[in-house]
Structure formats: structure tokens, C-alpha cells
């Protein structure tokens, strides 16, 4: 049932008990079997009460409402509840303004004030003193271990260098498929490596003992063990984070750059809150044609990961509609996301 003024009037006629009996029975049959119509009536009822309680009705509407609506104790309770709710919301609004002000004042309190505050009562003072002792002792042990580790790493590196005197170490910021070059390229850059036989044992030792990942990268790059790593034939799948409520920009800021040889893209859908257990996603193009759909999606920490195959994503604008499954198993609109694909 699409929402228009006529339907609103029909619902009001129903709520005011002004519908002829036969028509009413038909209407009742419809809303018991149609979840959407039922929701519409409930929303209209709520809004009618809101209009009345907040004094937004003209005298004629008010008198009509008073004559026809508060006919049962339950309805009167509902009106009273709404009145209390609106008052409470006004109160909460004022409270939240005060809380924000207080937060600003508290933030100005120094960290040292908070720390010294810990030692003011005997109970917390004991606990804090114990925590300080644990931290000091732990740091000392860590320092001792790091010293030994450093020496061993240096020793191993030195022994390596002695075996391969011409090898140079170049800094590698991160391992990514792009950074791992094909065998031939690597060899071309470091012609000496092929002639060097680094024992596998020694490599493992180095990987185990090197505490920082960047050092490990250096070793990985230069050992024959990693030369076996297959070069990826496809580009990595790009990830695009989308946020509910970014429709205002028309999705123009959400641009997905999809490499030609990528298998697909991962959309990271950020929700305002988790309102449903199971979600369904539908991808449509700018003309509204359904291109891809996926059921049974679950949100984790208000995020849903959705993989879309590359063949569904050509250059252009897309709309991703997310639906949540309600208690009665029906899909309700949960969020819409827009994005653009560049290839």
C-alpha cells in the first residue's frame, strides 16, 4: 500500500471507528495478513497521538480526536504515555547538553591529578603501588631479553654478511602482492643472490629471532624459500568502505577503483546500529536493474563485508540496498549506499 494522503485519511477513518462495518472487516483482514499495511496503521496512530499531545491540531481536529480516539483505557494510556515520553525527551535533551558541558570541563583536568587521585584512599593506593611494581619489574625483564635478542640478531646478520659480502639491504616498507616481484626481476636487481646459498635452517632462525617485521621482510626478500612464493596473477581485490547516510553526496565521493585483473571488490558496509540479525544486499545499476544479490549477511560490530564479483561492476554508478530481516521473516529497508566504479 503506497503512502499518500488518501491512504492516510482511510487509516484515520479506521482509527476513529468511522468505517462502515463491511469495509472495516475487509480492511482488518488486509492488515492482519499484510505486515506493511499494519506498520503503516501503527505509524499513523502514533503520529495522530503526537499531533494531539503536542498541540498541533486545530480545534476541529482536536475535538474530532477527543470524540473518537480515547475510547478505551488502553488508548488513554497510550496518549498519557506519549505525553510523558515527550516531556522525558525534552528533559533528556537538556541533560545531554549539560553532560557535554561537564565533559569539556572534566577533559581539562590533568592526567597527573587523576594519577595522584589513585593514591588518596588506602585500598586504591595499595593496588596502584602493586601495579607500579609489576610494570617496573616487567620492563626490567623485557629490557634484559631485548638486549640478548639484539646481540643474537646482529651476530646472525654478521655471519650472513660474511658469507655474502656483496649483498646490500634495501628498506622494504611492507609486504604486498605488488612488492613481491617476479623471480626474474628479483634476480635482475640482485644478481648475487642466486649464487648465494643461504641454509634454510639459518633463515628460519633469523625469522624467529628477528623481533621487528621490517627486518623479517629483509630476510624474506633475500632467501630462496620465498622465491617460491607464486606471483599473483590477479590484482588484489580493492576494499571500499561505505557509510549509511552518505547519500547526500550522491555517492560521488565513494569511488571504487577496480583494477582490470581484480576478481572483485569488497564493500565494507558501516551501519549506524545493528537492528537485524540477518541482512540481504541488492546491487542495482543507475537504471535500477538488479545486478547482484546476497542473502544471509550478518553484521559484526556494525559492519558487513560484502564481496561483489568484478563482472558485476563495470564503470558507472551503483546503488546498494541493504534490507534487514524482521521477526516475522520479512525484509525491511535498513540502509542504502551509493558508489561509483572506475575501471
Amino acid at each position: 500500500m503506497p503512502i499518500n494522503l488518501e491512504n492516510e485519511k482511510l487509516i484515520q477513518k479506521f482509527l476513529y471507528g468511522e468505517m462502515p462495518e463491511e469495509e472495516r472487516f475487509e480492511f482488518e483482514e488486509r492488515f492482519i495478513t499484510d505486515a506493511n499495511l499494519f506498520q503503516r496503521i501503527k505509524v499513523s496512530e502514533d503520529e495522530l497521538i503526537e499531533k494531539y499531545v503536542r498541540g498541533w491540531m486545530n480545534p476541529a481536529e482536536r475535538s474530532e480526536f477527543e470524540q473518537n480516539f480515547p475510547t478505551t483505557a488502553k488508548r488513554r494510556e497510550r496518549i498519557e504515555f506519549s505525553r510523558q515520553l515527550f516531556n522525558k525527551i525534552e528533559e533528556q535533551k537538556q541533560k545531554s547538553v549539560l553532560v557535554k558541558k561537564n565533559e569539556r570541563i572534566t577533559a581539562e583536568e590533568s592526567v597527573w591529578d587523576k594519577l595522584t587521585g589513585l593514591f588518596l584512599t588506602p585500598k586504591t593506593a595499595m593496588a596502584a603501588a602493586f601495579a607500579v611494581l609489576v610494570v617496573v619489574f616487567g620492563s626490567w625483564i623485557l629490557y634484559q631479553n631485548l638486549g640478548t635478542l639484539k646481540t643474537e640478531v646482529v651476530k646472525n646478520q654478521n655471519s650472513d654478511i660474511s658469507e655474502t659480502p656483496q649483498r646490500t639491504f634495501s628498506p622494504t616498507p611492507e609486504i604486498s602482492p605488488e612488492n613481491i616481484k617476479p623471480e626474474s626481476e628479483n634476480n635482475a636487481e640482485n644478481p648475487n643472490i642466486e649464487s648465494v646459498e643461504t641454509p634454510a635452517e639459518n633463515t628460519n632462525e633469523l625469522i624467529k629471532e628477528t623481533p621487528k617485521p621490517d627486518k623479517t621482510d629483509e630476510v624474506i626478500k633475500q632467501t630462496p624459500v620465498l622465491k617460491k612464493t607464486p606471483t599473483p596473477q590477479t590484482a588484489p581485490n580493492p576494499v571500499l568502505a561505505l557509510f549509511a547516510g552518505t547519500l547526500r553526496s550522491g555517492g560521488k565521493n565513494n569511488v571504487l577503483k577496480l583494477p582490470e585483473n581484480a576478481k572483485g571488490a569488497v564493500l565494507l558496509l558501516n551501519l549506524e546500529s545493528i537492528d537485524y540479525k540477518i541482512y540481504r544486499a541488492e546491487l542495482t545499476d543507475a537504471d535500477g536493474n538488479l545486478l547482484f544479490q546476497k542473502d544471509g549477511l550478518k553484521a559484526n560490530k556494525s559492519k558487513i563485508n560484502l564481496f561483489i564479483p568484478a563482472d558485476k561492476l563495470t564503470k558507472g554508478d551503483y546503488l546498494l540496498k541493504l534490507y534487514g530481516k524482521n521477526d516475522s521473516g520479512e525484509n525491511e529497508s535498513a540502509a542504502d549506499f551509493q558508489f561509483r566504479v572506475n575501471r
Binding site: K74, L85, G245, E272, D336
Partner: protein, 192 residues
């Protein structure tokens, strides 16, 4: 839960709602229950929960007796209509009796005191229930109703846009939230 039916009978009733998925069936039962309660409420009945129980009792009994029901929801509507008519007759009889034995009510002052007491209790319960709501939902409720008549539509449309949903979905979401809050408040008042 139904009044006079065994757990097995109830399970059979659930199967009529969804034979394959029990969880789905339970969801459908809850949704149908809510609609039937509103059906009676919009028909000016006071004892809506009791009347809904009667409907489910009767339908479940029919199923247990071996009646084949294809559309349980539609079947429940037709039973609900009979239950409504029966209830009207009873209410009418009762009101006639009440009319005959009506006594002059006790002092008005006492009534006012009781009304104030109830209102205070409701306010405290509403406070508790509001506090139980997740912060973002409480915030949504506050933002939704933080408007006046003139700015009502643009404000709510903006809020819906912020959440990436249409205005209609937002209205439904608020209606549900309000309903939950109302139920929570009612239950809290009954306990205290």
C-alpha cells in the same frame, strides 16, 4: 504462550505457520500475535491479550483435531471476528449488570491521589526503560522528536538521510522503538 494447550499442540500450531523453520515460525507467531492484539484494541476491546489467547487456542485445537489449515493467518482473522462478537455480547451484558448495581463513587480526592501515584510510578519506569535503551537509539528518539510542527518534515527527512534510509523506514523504526519503550514501561509498572 497459549493458555490451555500442551507444548506439543503449540509446536503443531507453529508448524502450520512454517513447517520447515521453527525460528521463522516463532517469529511469525509473535508478529501475528501483535496484529491480533491490535485488531482487538482498535475494536475498543480492553482485554486484548486474553482475546488473542482465545483465538490461538481455538485455531490450535482445530489443527490438533486434524483440520487442514492452509493459511493460518487468514484462518486466525476469521476466528478473531467470532471472538470479537462474543466479547461484545459479554461486555454488553456486564455493562447492563453494572448499571443496575452502580454505587456512588467514593470521594474524588482519593481518585486524584491514586492517579498522581500511578503517574509518578509510570515516570520512574519510563526513566528506567529509557536508560536501558542503547545510547544510539536513545539519541535517535530524542533527535526524531526534537522538532516543531513547521520543521517536522524537513528535520525528519534529514535525519532519515543521515541514517541512509527513507523517511518511511525511519517512521516505522521510531514506531517500533516507541512500542518497545511502552511495553517495557507497562511491565515495569506491573512489577512495582
Amino acid at each position: 504462550m497459549l493458555k490451555s494447550l500442551s507444548a506439543e499442540d503449540f509446536e503443531q500450531f507453529l508448524k502450520t505457520l512454517d513447517a520447515e523453520d521453527r525460528e521463522q515460525a516463532a517469529g511469525k507467531y509473535i508478529a501475528l500475535r501483535e496484529r491480533l492484539e491490535k485488531f482487538f484494541e482498535w475494536r475498543d476491546c480492553e482485554n486484548t491479550e486474553e482475546l488473542t489467547d482465545i483465538v490461538f487456542d481455538r485455531v490450535a485445537k482445530k489443527i490438533v483435531e486434524g483440520e487442514m489449515i492452509e493459511n493460518a493467518e487468514a484462518y486466525c482473522v476469521s476466528v478473531a471476528k467470532f471472538v470479537l462478537l462474543e466479547n461484545r455480547r459479554e461486555v454488553f451484558k456486564k455493562s447492563e449488570l453494572d448499571e443496575n448495581s452502580r454505587e456512588i463513587s467514593s470521594e474524588a480526592g482519593q481518585k486524584d491521589n491514586k492517579k498522581n501515584e500511578i503517574q509518578n510510578k509510570q515516570l520512574k519506569c519510563l526513566d528506567k526503560c529509557m536508560a536501558k535503551l542503547p545510547a544510539e537509539k536513545r539519541e535517535l528518539l530524542i533527535n526524531y522528536f526534537d522538532t516543531d510542527e513547521k520543521t517536522l518534515i524537513p528535520n525528519r527527512r534529514n535525519l532519515a538521510e543521515k541514517f541512509g534510509i527513507n523517511l518511511n523506514s525511519l517512521r516505522i523504526r521510531i514506531s517500533r522503538l516507541k512500542s518497545k519503550l511502552e511495553k517495557c514501561t507497562r511491565k515495569c509498572c506491573e512489577k512495582t
